[in-house]
């Protein structure tokens, strides 16, 4: 019971932090561009390699499994259809968010948490600036922008990984595979995935910043907070994925 109350308390506090963040974003025309580009570089460009590796091997493994599973029905030629749908709708956005979220969110928490325990966050306020504007808003905006881009990259690479497997294991040509994928996917599939990625980007940044801003207890506290963030982001992404999928498919 107390855990549920605590969770509700956190959700309330994250909502308030989000409100303050978006007020900053919309009231000051745009967040500080140099801070934003630094965060886009760190969160987005710095994460492309894990996004690509994850997608490449996930696409490949899915292709192996589907090719094998469809073979008894003589349908392994259609592996591309199944795999591309799975990647673009679900695995691209979700796996990218979980992995990039772990990396980026933990980084946000560690950095802001360390600043918090050394009073640097207080110093920002004391020197006449707003920690939300300096720390939270650029990170939230950067993740909202970069997560869909990373997801798009992951979608392509995932399908490419699958194509390599299907070409070698099933023996279809690249053209055949690509035609199948283009036949199967509609623009809505891609947009659903990217819309989800936008939400995941927001969740990753806001949770990472929130836990960082509430870090207490010196370096030990920073370590604890960082672990909490990784768990919280993974759960938030997976649970919200279910809700967002339901929501988007109802339209």
């Amino acid at each position: 019971m107390s855990a549920a109350i605590k969770l509700l308390g956190h959700i309330g506090a994250v909502t308030r932090l989000s409100g303050r963040t978006f007020r900053v974003v919309f009231s000051r025309k745009f967040v500080d561009r140099s801070l934003l580009s630094a965060q886009m570089d760190h969160a987005g460009i710095g994460s492309w390699s894990i996004a690509v590796l994850t997608a490449l091997f996930t696409g490949a493994v899915m292709a192996i499994q589907f090719a094998d599973g469809l073979e008894p029905y003589g349908a392994s030629l259609y592996t591309g259809k199944m795999v591309s749908l799975g990647i673009v709708r679900e695995l691209g956005p979700t796996l990218t968010a979980v992995l990039v979220g772990g990396r980026v969110g933990a980084g946000f928490t560690a950095e802001i948490g360390s600043m918090n325990v050394t009073e640097q966050v207080d110093a920002i306020s004391a020197l006449g600036a707003d920690p939300i504007e300096k720390l939270v808003a650029p990170r939230v905006m950067a993740c909202i922008i970069m997560l869909p881009l990373l997801t798009l990259l992951a979608d392509f690479v995932g399908c490419f990984g699958a194509m390599l497997v299907v070409m070698t294991d099933v023996g279809v040509t690249a053209t055949f595979f690509i035609e199948q994928v283009l036949d199967t996917l509609v623009i809505a599939d891609l947009l659903h995935g990217l819309a989800k990625a936008t939400f995941f980007g927001y969740f990753i940044a806001i949770v990472g910043c929130y836990v960082g801003l509430n870090t207490r207890g010196g370096t030990e506290g920073v370590g604890r907070s960082t672990t909490d963030t990784v768990v919280a982001i993974s759960i938030t992404v997976l649970v919200s994925n279910f809700l967002l999928t339901k929501l988007f498919l109802s339209f």
């Binding site: 050394t118 640097q120 207080d122 110093a123 306020s125 004391a126 020197l127």
Partner: protein, 264 residues
């Protein structure tokens, strides 16, 4: 033992805490806090570690919100001040944090310029010149390009002080300015506080449990005891006091720190 002794300081009140209460969950810090600070004086707040002396500094610039009571600075109520006005307050009241709280990712020059940029203080050239001036003032010229990680504890404190005075505040809050420093740096920081006081004629509130530091820099002492700050007086009055907990504290009886708050 009178609660309030005669104030030799100038009569103009710049800061006043009135019936301020503050608690963190079950941990009551002030119950209540009453304190007045006059223009141009250096007031030192002493008391045991972990009793919340820094909390009053943070409430004064609203990094923390008081639970109840009134805090006024320059005649304006701080506890209910709108966000937009807080910027002006924080321009007039600067704070030196305990660990200096320099931004690790910025150079010394960028750290000192931070408040100048936020308060739109002047042109780039004027800011560069101001950085040079304040670094000279704290006796550390030519270190603009260094990062905080390249500085020692004492140097960080002095850069922190340079950053605090850059914007020419009316009041400087010092949170444990000499804690964790070697004796040479302690003397240096104390000297700086005194010099700045004379040169800039600022009002200072120094929170410390270092009695040597307290006696070196202070005009008036406030003693935090049993969640109140009822005793205030001059150095001489503190030395001659017959108020037991304060006498023990002043004489450096370390047992006082542990026993504080449990005695009558």
């Amino acid at each position: 033992m009178p609660d309030e002794t005669i104030q030799p300081a100038p009569p103009e009140v710049v800061i006043q805490f009135k019936d301020v209460r503050k608690a963190f969950g079950p941990n009551v810090i002030y119950d209540p806090l009453n304190l007045t600070v006059h223009r141009g004086e250096t007031l030192t707040v002493i008391g045991g570690s972990g009793k919340g002396k820094s909390v009053m500094l943070k409430m004064l610039i609203r990094l923390l919100q008081a639970d109840s009571g009134s805090i006024t600075a320059f005649g304006e109520e701080v506890t209910t001040m709108p966000e937009a006005k807080l910027l002006g307050l924080r321009r007039r009241i600067a704070m030196l944090f305990q660990g200096a709280a320099l931004f690790d990712s910025l150079t010394v020059a960028q750290n000192i310029k931070y408040p100048l940029v936020e308060h739109k203080w002047g042109t780039r050239e004027q800011m560069d010149q101001r950085v040079e001036e304040v670094l000279d003032m704290v006796g550390m010229p030519g270190i603009q390009h260094l990062k905080p990680s390249e500085l020692s504890g004492g140097m960080k404190k002095r850069v922190g002080l340079a950053r605090a005075i850059a914007i020419q505040p009316d009041v400087i809050l010092y949170d444990e300015p000499t804690t964790g420093l070697d004796p040479i740096n302690v003397r240096r920081i104390n000297g700086l506080i005194l010099r700045l006081q004379r040169r800039l004629n600022v009002t200072s509130i120094v929170v410390t449990h270092d009695m040597d530091s307290c006696f070196t820099v202070t005009d008036r002492i406030a003693f935090l005891y049993d969640r109140r700050m009822d005793w205030t007086g001059t150095k001489e009055e503190a030395l001659a006091t017959d108020f037991g907990p304060l006498r023990e504290f002043v004489q450096g009886g370390r047992g006082t720190l542990e026993a504080e708050g449990t005695e009558d």
